[in-house]
Symmetry: C2
Subunit: 592 residues, 2 copies
């Protein structure tokens, strides 16, 4: 199993660890120390050795930070984790704080008044440090120091050193040497001698490599220096390499062990580009002549080429077949089943293809009230039996060498009530509005997020998350720079893959979310039109539960979209499933 | 007539005036001088004495700027004015430049290479100067100087000095003293001793006064200093005052003549707030201790109170009746009519109420290909006869003491072809989508602009202007800070008035635009919903030409909206029109 169901929290260790940290701060002459959740690569998932926030506080969510003073320690988390943080930390010694209402700077000014705040320069970007510094000045100053958590963390796990694998050009679509040449040309154009990459998925994309250092995202942890002559220095543990990797990387890529990173940066001459928003502030401080330069891999990585898109199409057909086997199996009876059983079974169906290399994130599987928890991860403590006449929300995905998948389906176990049907149909209307949208060049996610919400808004309903995120090509299931949300300011461009996942959550009762991934197609002329228009190509082919749809609430073009979609599901997935599943699929895909 | 139809351009005066200006620059030791269209109040409409750009170049558009060097003079205008600028200027001596592709800074670097660029510090804001300065450094420097155009402008008109009128509290809804107290409280909260207002509509709003210094916008030209004890110094020509005005303003408002402005600013003690984006850079330079502080009148002015909204409702009923008389008259025959005749007739119908104090902007009246020019203003040269089987686009509005109106209707003269009907119906669908939208707090124009475009996008069509602008309460017909466009980042808030005016323009053939104004209603619970939602209340009640609608393209709720709207038009406007017009109105409002 790629997923586990343990509850890793241990609130009782918080007090002694906090005590040890405070003693270390005193000895170092620091009044406070900051512990973010992120690692030096600003990742959503981090390796066990980088789980400093969880080690200290017990909080295991994917986002948050802690500030430790001698007399108070605040744990800052956003709305997704308000409940979870209270279950996981010892609130006698840690004080939960709600982002964005509670701001770290205001909290520090209130509780510390004046003094020095220590931080590890590998874990904070230039922009983050500058913003905080300005907000705290002049009474409170920031001070770089060694990581004080690491200093007191006994039996800290070693850094991961999983083998790095070449990623075949059949899937990558473009040889690494070509990507490196193109990037080098950009450096020359910008007058830079080199640039530093600190995001593992940028490096994995550029070098056509994959790894297994962290869960669910197939990247190696590494830094890289890209020179203006297209040579690359890859900073990572040489134990991750192999003759096959060396052959793949070729003579222009040199591996440098992490303890040589500082000296290598210090020896660079000429202007060197650094991403001020994502690189550790430590990086620019090593350079003789740093220049701000946004990570040049982010946009080309997001705009997938034909090979990557074809891979993603294949991965989604394979994944769709597994999802259909799973949904058909669910229909055979739920007697004695729990959420954990359902998650295990679904992973089993995904594994039958033998192509699954990991799940792309911990499956969200919530029945009844658990379905209303947007970022729910089932564990032994929260596990609920699947009951009759309730909704079951399953948000899951797989990592395949040809693509990263992500899909959400909500199904009725038994018979829905009128409220479920009405809400499901309104969510579906929004999801269809985006699926069939045409739009001109230049439109960003912020401009179309409302189209997915308008049917819910008309009924006085809404959902408190974005409508969609970018998805990588056998990389991160959450990938920038574009997203469909009010904060999505990057234009949607040809080849981007984005999720389309409106929802509705009735707290304490049930939750609904329907999610397909979409490819942004090239702008094409429209018959009778003048301006070429982008549209979306749907990647997922899995039935949407028609038992939850009130056809009277659908406009004719919406019903047409749904029936066309189900016809395509049957045609594409039908040949890929067992015969019993095919019989279920035919019923599930019947027109409404 | 408030509107005239002369073509004020005189290309032949460009060469001698440019020659005189260049001689003056040489004498002053300047390599270049900047001539913006705006006055010291950054207004869209300016007084004749401030028409420096038009005097020098001949270009009379509402936006643009000129940069004069010894060997070249660039006139920078945006896409609205690409054609017009070439008709109005002498291209032997002036070179048209296209905003935003041609940037002033790049152009200066290319043509001037190095040297000094003079500018009048009354006509440029701190932000504008800083941005330009940074782009030109270090080779080119900016230098403040007296206005070099004024130095060579013979027979320059005098500054306007129209009487300032008290604006009755029945229409303003809140006494000026109360507004001033509230503003003073904000100054105290921000630690400011005073703030400087430079926008005439902010001052008119704060003091409940109106004026006639510029065309179509009923404001007096003035500056104001608001002190933290709620006293106000009003900087304007005392000749504009009267005993009635003095009584209205009361003892806490002191009039200071313009030549006392500098000394008054220099004498201020304590931190003084200045809007860095709209105030002349000259203002902050006079102050001992300036602090950046956005104009505090802009938001409360935009969020109208009940009296202002009721006034606007009344004004739109009165204006709607005039529009209906006009549209009914159009149906009686177009024999021999031209665009100018139509504009005159429409102004005549608006005048019959005896309540019209001005038109709110030059009527846009375009038949056939002229309808496709988005910012068309008819003059003797462009005037076209109204012909059969063409579309007529009329965008117009009035200034009434109780409100500012704005409306666009497009009608068919004769019989439409299928393309006209299809495009008109698609535009209408977008206009209805916004009209019936519900949305939660926090939504900005950028988030909903796409809803008005989606039906056109689906057909490969679009329009190259925003969907809506804010509208004042007997103030400017274009009012910030909110707007419905991709650039509209300010949240739509209760009491704001915004236009909803999607369109479609077939270049060289015809244009379509349908516009109503909308009030943002307070958030209200929706039956069966959870979150209170804003909606829009429509202000204009004038038939939408059903001869141009293909009902087969309308969804059921869209058709319902249209028929409900027309029923309301008949009920509200029917009692206000002549009997012949009533007969026409009944037909025009028949359900589709």
């Amino acid at each position: 199993m790629y997923q586990n169901f343990t509850t890793p929290s241990s609130p009782h260790t918080g007090a002694p660890r906090l005590k040890a940290l405070r003693a270390a701060l005193k000895a170092a002459g620091l009044d406070s120390f900051l512990i973010p959740r992120v690692d030096a690569h600003q990742g959503e998932n981090v390796a066990p050795c980088d789980e400093r926030l969880a080690w200290l506080t017990g909080f295991t969510g994917s986002d948050g930070h802690c500030a430790v003073l001698q007399d108070i320690a605040g744990v800052f988390v956003d709305g997704r984790y308000t409940l979870q943080v209270r279950q996981q930390i010892d609130t006698d010694v840690f004080t939960p704080q709600a982002i964005p209402d509670d701001k770290l700077s205001a909290w520090l000014i209130k509780h510390l008044k004046s003094g020095t705040v220590g931080y590890d320069p590998m874990l904070h970007s230039h922009d983050a440090v500058s913003t905080l510094e300005a907000a705290l000045a002049p009474q409170i100053t920031l001070k770089q120091c060694a990581n004080m958590v690491d200093a007191v963390w006994q039996n800290r796990p070693a850094a991961p050193a999983a083998p790095i694998r070449p990623h075949p050009v059949e899937f990558a679509g473009k040889p690494s040497a070509e990507k490196r040449r193109e990037l080098a040309a950009k450096l020359v154009e910008a007058g830079l001698a080199a640039t530093i990459l600190t995001l593992p998925d940028s490096i994995a994309w550029l070098l056509n490599i994959r790894g297994s250092d962290i869960a669910h995202t197939p990247v190696p942890l590494a830094f890289a220096i890209v020179h203006d002559d297209a040579r690359v220095s890859l900073i990572t543990n040489p134990a991750k390499s192999s003759p096959a990797l060396a052959a793949h990387l070729g003579p222009d890529v040199t591996i440098i062990p992490p303890d040589g990173f500082a000296a290598t940066l210090q020896a660079l001459t000429g202007k060197v580009g650094v991403d001020r928003a994502t690189a550790p502030i430590w990086v620019s401080q090593q350079l003789n002549s740093p220049a701000w330069f946004a990570d040049p891999c982010i946009l080309p990585k997001a705009c997938k080429n034909e090979a990557e898109l074809n891979g993603s199409r294949q991965a989604h057909l394979r994944d769709g077949a597994a999802m259909c086997e799973f949904l058909a199996w669910l229909e055979t009876g739920i007697e004695g089943l729990t959420e954990i059983d359902v998650v295990k079974k679904l992973e089993g169906f995904r594994r039958t293809s033998n192509a699954l290399t990991d799940i792309s994130f911990d499956t969200i599987c919530g029945t009844g009230p658990n379905g209303a928890i947007v970022h729910y991860r089932v564990d032994e403590a929260s596990n609920r039996p699947i009951e009759n006449n309730t909704l079951l929300l399953v948000d899951s995905g797989g990592q395949y060498m040809d693509g990263t998948t992500d899909i959400t389906r909500t199904v009725i176990i038994g018979t829905p009530d009128a409220e479920m049907t009405r809400a499901f149909t309104l969510v579906l209307k929004g999801m269809i509005a985006l699926s069939k949208l045409r739009f001109p060049a230049g439109i960003a996610g912020a401009h179309i997020d409302s189209l997915a919400r308008a049917p819910l808004w008309a009924a006085g309903l809404d959902y408190k998350h974005g409508t969609g995120h970018g998805v990588g090509a056998y990389l991160s299931v959450h990938e920038g720079p574009a997203r469909i949300s009010r904060a999505g300011e990057v234009a949607l461009q040809t080849g981007m893959i984005l999720s389309n996942e409106p929802g509705y959550y009735r707290e304490g009762e049930w939750g609904i979310r329907i999610e397909n991934l979409l490819i942004v197609t090239p702008p094409k002329p429209v018959e009778g039109g003048e301006a070429p228009m982008h549209s979306f190509e749907t990647l997922n082919f899995v039935p949407i539960d028609t038992r939850l749809i009130d056809p009277a609430l659908l406009a004719k073009p919406e019903r047409q979209w749904l029936n066309d979609y189900h016809a395509e599901v049957l045609q594409k997935i039908g040949p890929l499933v067992e015969s019993a599943t095919f019989a279920w699929l035919k019923t599930a895909c019947a027109p409404v």
